[in-house]
């Protein structure tokens, strides 16, 4: 089973020390050699466009191409960013919190490796954590961007939908997917996924009550974990109404009711410098006639195991879920699910192990053919206290996993010390590094460079 792990920082930026956290990835299904990654990576020169990571050789080498619209002289060139290729035609779409105002912007480009900045299709203020999924059906690019829309308080969970995103003037509409009373808002994680047969799912945290203080870093939210479904590409009226909860008759199946999550303003030593606030991922089996098989991962707060991941499955379109966890992971976050063309499920997550200065972030990739037997592969095990945090989030409020054909492609952020013991599956660095002395090196291959957080790409082929 070939495994490729690559530090994505290119050689020309060997001196960089950014905190390249919160990564996301997309692979062009029409040409899987073409891959785009994103992270909180500034334009290295602080110019008026933000960069994306680009590979045109299947992830073996990466470069930065600055094409995300921004403005010069900002302190951060772009906020949350998540891009997605359509499954045909090569169009790249995305949702970002763009500068200078952190407005939610919808982006598109037909040529991701060209220097032309991405086209801004639309924008609006008061939003959070856009998360993009795209699929092509009958020549039409369908784009689904989960987002937390504060313009719709108190029911903020939203999916922006276009079923003609490759048109010259595509139309997007905002589907409001929360049907219940909230504690003033929903959580920021709204995760859409679509099947080629027209079923579209989205998962979100429906916030019901809160205690403690966000500014005081003690906020705990009581929340439902909710899944909604639309059976017609989310193309008609009354979107995402096809999955009804039997308890209250409202759209949106409650998979876990009244669970508690922390919602940190900042990470601390005990959390491995990572702020915690739940994590959510949903994947649908892409095979024909398998669109009713859905896997869901979420986190809640458990007395003994802290921020704990749960994985469950539905085989009837989300109506009924496995009564117990298929997998439970203690002290973990950044769950990312994907299902490949053979129905194998992949799960990426980052687990905090150890205590005190021995805490480590361990990045796992697990697979199962049936939801029962899970293999386990560790891509990185790195100190959780080094480097010191520059900002929140330390590793990101998410990482990302996708599947194209039989292959899994993922991205995570981690301490970049060039120490092979930290990367049990091996690792390839593009930036200059001496693995013998475990030292990062500048462009001159002599001057040492401090350790920082870098994005890492991986590919696992069957």
């Amino acid at each position: 089973m070939p495994v490729l792990v690559v530090n994505m920082i290119p050689r020309s930026l060997s001196r960089e020390t950014n905190q390249d956290s919160e990564p996301a990835i997309t692979v062009n299904p029409a040409n899987p050699l073409e891959i785009v990654g994103t992270a909180f990576t500034p334009d290295p020169m602080g110019g008026p466009v933000a960069p994306i990571f680009v590979s045109t050789d299947g992830g073996n080498t990466w470069r930065l191409n600055s094409i995300v619209p921004s403005v010069a002289n900002t302190t951060v060139p772009t906020g949350d960013i998540c891009l997605a290729f359509a499954s045909a035609g090569g169009n790249l779409y995305g949702g970002i919190l763009g500068q200078p105002s952190f407005e939610f912007e919808t982006l598109r480009t037909p040529a991701f490796s060209n220097p032309t900045p991405m086209e801004v299709l639309g924008h609006r203020p008061d939003n959070d954590q856009p998360f993009t999924h795209a699929i092509t059906n009958a020549g039409q690019d369908h784009v689904y961007i989960g987002n937390n829309d504060f313009q719709n308080q108190p029911r903020t969970a939203t999916v922006d939908v276009s079923t003609n995103a490759n048109a010259a003037q595509p139309k997007f509409q905002s589907a409001r997917i929360e049907t219940r009373q909230t504690a003033g808002q929903d959580g920021p994680q709204i995760r859409p996924v679509a099947h080629a047969d027209g079923k579209v799912y989205a998962a979100f945290y429906g916030w019901r009550a809160q205690s403690g203080s966000f500014p005081g870093n003690t906020l705990v939210v009581t929340t439902d974990v909710v899944v909604v479904r639309d059976d017609q590409n989310a193309a008609g009226a009354n979107l995402f109404q096809n999955l009804i909860d039997p308890a209250d008759g409202l759209a949106g199946r409650i998979v876990a009711r009244g669970v508690r999550i922390p919602f940190n303003r900042n990470g601390v030593a005990a959390t491995g410098q990572q702020r915690l606030g739940g994590t959510l991922s949903i994947a649908v089996d892409p095979r024909p006639n398998q669109s009713n098989t859905v896997y869901l991962a979420w986190a809640d707060l458990q007395p003994q195991t802290g921020h704990t991941l749960h994985v469950r499955r539905s085989t009837n379109g989300g109506a009924v879920w496995s009564p117990a966890d298929l997998l439970t992971i203690a002290n973990a976050t950044n769950a990312a699910l994907a299902i490949n063309s053979e129905g194998t499920v992949g799960l990426l997550y980052q687990q905090l192990t150890g205590t005190g200065t021995n805490r480590r972030w361990v990045t796992h990739f697990r697979r199962t053919p049936d939801g029962m037997a899970w293999s386990d592969m560790i891509f990185a095990t790195t100190p959780a206290n080094i480097p010191g945090k520059l900002f929140d989030p330390y590793l990101g409020d998410y990482d990302h996993l996708v599947a194209v054909d039989k292959d899994f492609y993922g991205i995570f952020s981690a301490n970049n010390t060039p120490n092979l013991a930290n990367f049990p599956q091996g690792v390839k660095f593009q930036r200059n590094a001496d693995f013998n002395t475990q030292t990062l090196l500048a462009l001159d291959n002599t001057t040492s460079v401090p350790v920082s957080i870098d994005p890492f790409f991986f590919k696992v082929s069957d």
């Binding site: 290119p10 930026l13 290295p44 403005v71 809160q210 929140d392």
Partner: protein, 268 residues
């Protein structure tokens, strides 16, 4: 247009300014960059303004996509550039170039041996030209804005929030600055209030954080739309209150002579 004025305008937009010699025309240092009539390979002879991550490019060959104007192979120019492609090599987009005369280079080099400090000084210059009020003084108090106190109390009591809970929330506080001297603008009274984000979120972490006893030169703004969502702050900004969101908006007192000059300059 006067040469100095054009240089100032280019310098205001460019983050990577260097003196370089054109080695090859219609060429590139990396295969990912399409070669056109406007791509040339330039040896970086001297960095003038550069961010920290790119300070070891002196002596390196890079690709330059030319802006307006032509170049001759073998000639040396000052290039005003921003980033483009960062791969095995580096490609930049030039906004413009000019002959590399000694006066041109000297005019741009506030710290001739330190391109990072020169860039920082230039950013401070831009902030100073755009500031509404520049004062020297020291921070005498840090406090919560009244609106923030009310919102937090309401949320704690009700278990619900009428304002958003977002990881990107600024979590505002107010710094009260006792003014020693007004350098630019006008201000009644001996104190001025600056609202600042205490959040360490990616959105706000580079915005200056104030603390009691801090002294310096404070470059204060009424409208920092170009730095951050003005709406996030403006709603609670009183008539005599300001923001200072750019990292260059707080300068050490030893920078005062330079700031004083910048304060008198026009906006580039």
């Amino acid at each position: 247009m006067a040469e100095g004025t054009r240089s100032e305008e280019l310098a205001a937009q460019a983050k990577f300014i260097f003196q370089g010699t054109v080695r090859r025309v219609r060429a590139a240092t990396m295969r990912e960059v399409p070669v056109t009539d406007n791509t040339v390979v330039v040896r970086v002879d001297r960095l003038i303004h550069a961010p920290e991550a790119l300070t070891d490019y002196a002596g390196q060959e890079i690709t330059v996509q030319l802006g307006a104007g032509e170049v001759e192979q073998g000639q040396t120019y000052v290039f005003y550039a921003n980033g483009w492609v960062f791969g095995d090599s580096l490609a930049v987009q030039s906004l413009g170039h000019e002959a590399a005369t000694a006066p041109a280079v000297a005019r741009l080099s506030s710290h001739p041996d330190d391109p990072v400090r020169s860039l920082a000084s230039h950013e401070a210059h831009i902030q100073a030209t755009q500031a509404d009020l520049i004062v020297t003084g020291h921070v005498s108090a840090i406090r919560l804005p009244a609106a923030e106190v009310t919102a937090r109390t309401t949320a704690m009591a009700s278990g619900q929030t009428t304002e958003r809970i977002s990881e990107h929330a600024p979590l505002l506080q107010e710094a009260v600055i006792d003014i020693d001297e007004v350098i630019k603008g006008s201000h009644e009274g001996k104190q001025v209030v600056v609202q600042f984000p205490t959040s360490t979120d990616v959105r706000w972490y580079q915005a200056p954080k104030f603390h009691t006893g801090q002294d310096g030169v404070f470059l204060l703004h009424k409208d920092q739309r170009d730095v951050a969502a003005h709406a996030a702050l403006a709603a609670s900004l009183g008539p005599d209150e300001y923001t200072a969101l750019h990292p260059a908006d707080v300068q050490p007192l030893e920078e005062l002579p330079r700031i004083r000059l910048s304060a008198q300059a026009r906006i580039p």
